[in-house]
């Protein structure tokens, strides 16, 4: 890729506005609509069921499960027309014969031609623990990144990087809220990886900004960020491209179970790449980072 000179910095304000809008919208959705927690975090039971009898319809299953008084039952197709995901929230303690009884009840209604391919039952105590440790994991990783970048860079840089990550996490979760996609343990893993990836991307540009601060003593940070973004642009594009290729492969060929995870990651990589340019850098400009900022640090 030849050296480019795209004036990214002319649009800092416009894109910051867009980002702020998206963050605000995401927060509104997260507060008022909330997230669609899966059984990992809400408790309850998930059954992946495969039928060998094509005449069994989703409404047959729904009817049969609704009869069993399991609370809110949701029945959905999963990938193809013979696979179903059944979810329900059963409040009481799981009994040891619960699944057996369920199978027997179901046999009465739709016959023998089905099997449970996957059963996940999570009690209320465990689900609240999982939720806590999920939130803790995300908070801790943000904290650890903050500390790392604080050690490696000056505080202005770490503020920029953390703002970018915060932006990515909030908007990714906002998307999940709007689209009503399920949040489970693997989504937490995805969010953490997004945090790592976005940080990675930001650090590459920041490293260049710092280098250029030393190199050009007469260029203001506003233009300096633009030079740095352009210099690292081909790397940014190539790495995003290969990562997205890998993720698309998981999304398309990796099976239903990994769909949510890979979707979150794809979203996160795109948002993370964008935020490294349009969140992290404008903050350096806003905080008026100058050559002095890093020289002071070097003489310390």
């Amino acid at each position: 890729m030849e050296k480019k000179n795209i004036p990214f910095n002319l649009f800092y304000k416009q894109f910051n506005f867009v980002s702020l809008l998206l963050i605000a919208l995401s927060l509104v959705f997260l507060v008022f609509k909330g997230l669609n927690y899966g059984v990992d975090f809400k408790g309850g039971t998930l059954i992946e069921l495969r039928t060998t009898d094509k005449t069994i319809s989703i409404s047959d299953l729904r009817k049969s499960f609704t009869k069993m008084e399991l609370g809110d039952v949701s029945v959905k197709n999963f990938g193809n027309e013979n696979d179903f995901i059944i979810k329900f929230e059963k409040k009481e303690q799981l009994e040891e014969n619960f699944i057996v009884n369920l199978k027997n009840e179901l046999k009465k209604d739709i016959g023998d031609s089905f099997n449970f391919r996957r059963v996940e039952s999570v009690g209320p105590k465990v689900s609240s623990e999982l939720l806590k440790s999920g939130i803790l994991a995300i908070a801790l990783s943000l904290g650890a990144m903050l500390i790392y970048i604080w050690i490696r860079f000056e505080w202005q840089f770490s503020l920029g990087a953390i703002a970018a990550i915060f932006h990515d996490v909030v908007i990714t979760l906002g998307f999940f809220s709007v689209l009503n996609l399920e949040i489970n343990l693997s989504i937490v893993a995805a969010v953490l990886t997004i945090v790592g990836y976005s940080m990675n991307d930001t650090v590459v540009i920041f490293d260049r900004v710092r280098e250029n601060l030393k190199k050009y003593s007469d260029i203001k940070i506003f233009d300096l960020t633009n030079i740095s973004i352009n210099e690292t642009l081909s790397r940014t594009i190539i790495t995003s491209a290969t990562t997205l290729l890998a993720l698309l492969s998981i999304f398309i060929f990796g099976g239903e179970i990994l769909k949510g995870f890979s979707f979150a990651m794809i979203l996160g990589v795109i948002i993370g790449t964008y935020s490294s340019i349009y969140i992290a850098n404008p903050i350096l400009v806003m905080l008026n980072v100058t050559q002095k900022t890093i020289i002071k640090e070097d003489t310390d």
């Binding site: 799981l94 999570v122 893993a189 990562t243 998981i250």
Partner: protein
Amino acid sequence: MLYFSKLKIVSVIIFTLLLSYFALSNFFSFDDNFFKRNINLGLDLQGGSYLLLEIDNEPVVIQQVQNKLIDIKKYLKNKNVQFKNIQIVDNKNIKFQINENDASNIEEIFNNKDSEINPYFPKFKTHQFNLTIDSNNVQLKLSDYGLVLIKSSSQEQAIEIVRRRVDEVGTNEPNILKRGSDRILVELPGLNNPDRIKSLLGKTANLTFKFVTNNSEESFGTEKLLFEDGTEAIVSKRIVLSGENLIDAKPRMDTQNNQTVVSFNLDRVGTKKFAKATSNNVGKKLAIILDNKIISAPTIQEPIVGGSGQITGDFTFQSATDMALLLRSGALPAPLNIIEERTVGPDLGQDSINSGLISLVIGFCLVILFMLVKYKFFGLIANITLIFNLFLLIGILTLFEATLTLPGIAGIILTVGMAVDANVLIYERIKEEKKNEQNQLLAFDSGYTKSRTTILDANITTLIAAVILFILGSGPVKGFSVTLGVGILTTLFSVYFIARLITAIYVSKNKNKEKLL
């Protein structure tokens, strides 16, 4: 940066080949015993059951405090200390009243570091019970460590019983581990249907023999219990014999009336007890009680002195087998609740392996093609590096016999996508350096040097995320953090040793070519 000592070259090659060998040994069966290692497939890939059990310790605590109360009564009587109104409050505190002038005596008995009745644990600087005396009111409160002791001992016992029951069912390589102070994790690979094990683990299996009384009302020393079919019987509270005295139990066909029964053998103490009780009570009904339900209450026809007997009941052969198994393995100290279950059928596991591998191959090919188109010959170097990176990653997972899960496979694919980043950073840097540097060798060298801190920074951030996920994540997600984390390390190794070595050799041989990158 482009110079390699001979020793380094040899070590890199040996290390790479060794790990590649481990990686490949998963796919081909080499005939040697030394290197016999394999990646473990997680339960989500090979199918199986994950059960998290929680011990309901409340009855154990109550029981222990009750025992303590009896001990204290005896002890105080021996020491000639007057007390009254001794009772248990809140299930774990003992309260009683004394004469006020005995306060210092009580203090000496319970708060002495050598106290016989209230042991002191110097390591934790606490007694089993914390003593408070308020004029003539004495309260002994179970201390935190006292509670921990009770919990850990019941966990210890429970895990042993769980292990025996799971082993009896005979699944392959079950994994039974402690979790926290009151939980037990049971992993049952390859088990398609955990229903039987669940129902076995859900039973405390507390077996007792008690006499049925002739009274029709509950009175002091008796209790009302139910049969399986719901009918009631009044039995004496006195335990004639309990499951502890059992040494063996088997399902058997009773040839006389064609009924399935469970036959049992008693130990010496049990035999004596049983002989005495049955001799003195011929004609009475003896209730056989499991977990507070009467299985049957046969009439004693004759004294049973041989130390063996049989339990009749409404058994199928399967339920008699399970009953015998429970009796053989012994009673749990406390009830177990299943608080989390994850079961994956083997067909879904195989589907997941297939789709995981397909997406790995496709993702890998896409990345390789992309790099080839973008960087031509140096893309090839990056791709060779990527292949070795994959070998190293799988090799290390094999070496440590790590568990590969479906998210773990996703982590490998993600590593493939992100691993080229380091090479891209280097190549892009070299391109920039070449603008100011005529000497190809120097340009390559400074390209490597100047991109190093960036690459380290960038990878450490992802590594931090992986480590946190490893510490806090559970199950399949942990597998993701392992492959992601190890993937970063192998990426750094393959980029800085393998790719750099190939680049160094190529560049030094072609340093006079016009355009190298």
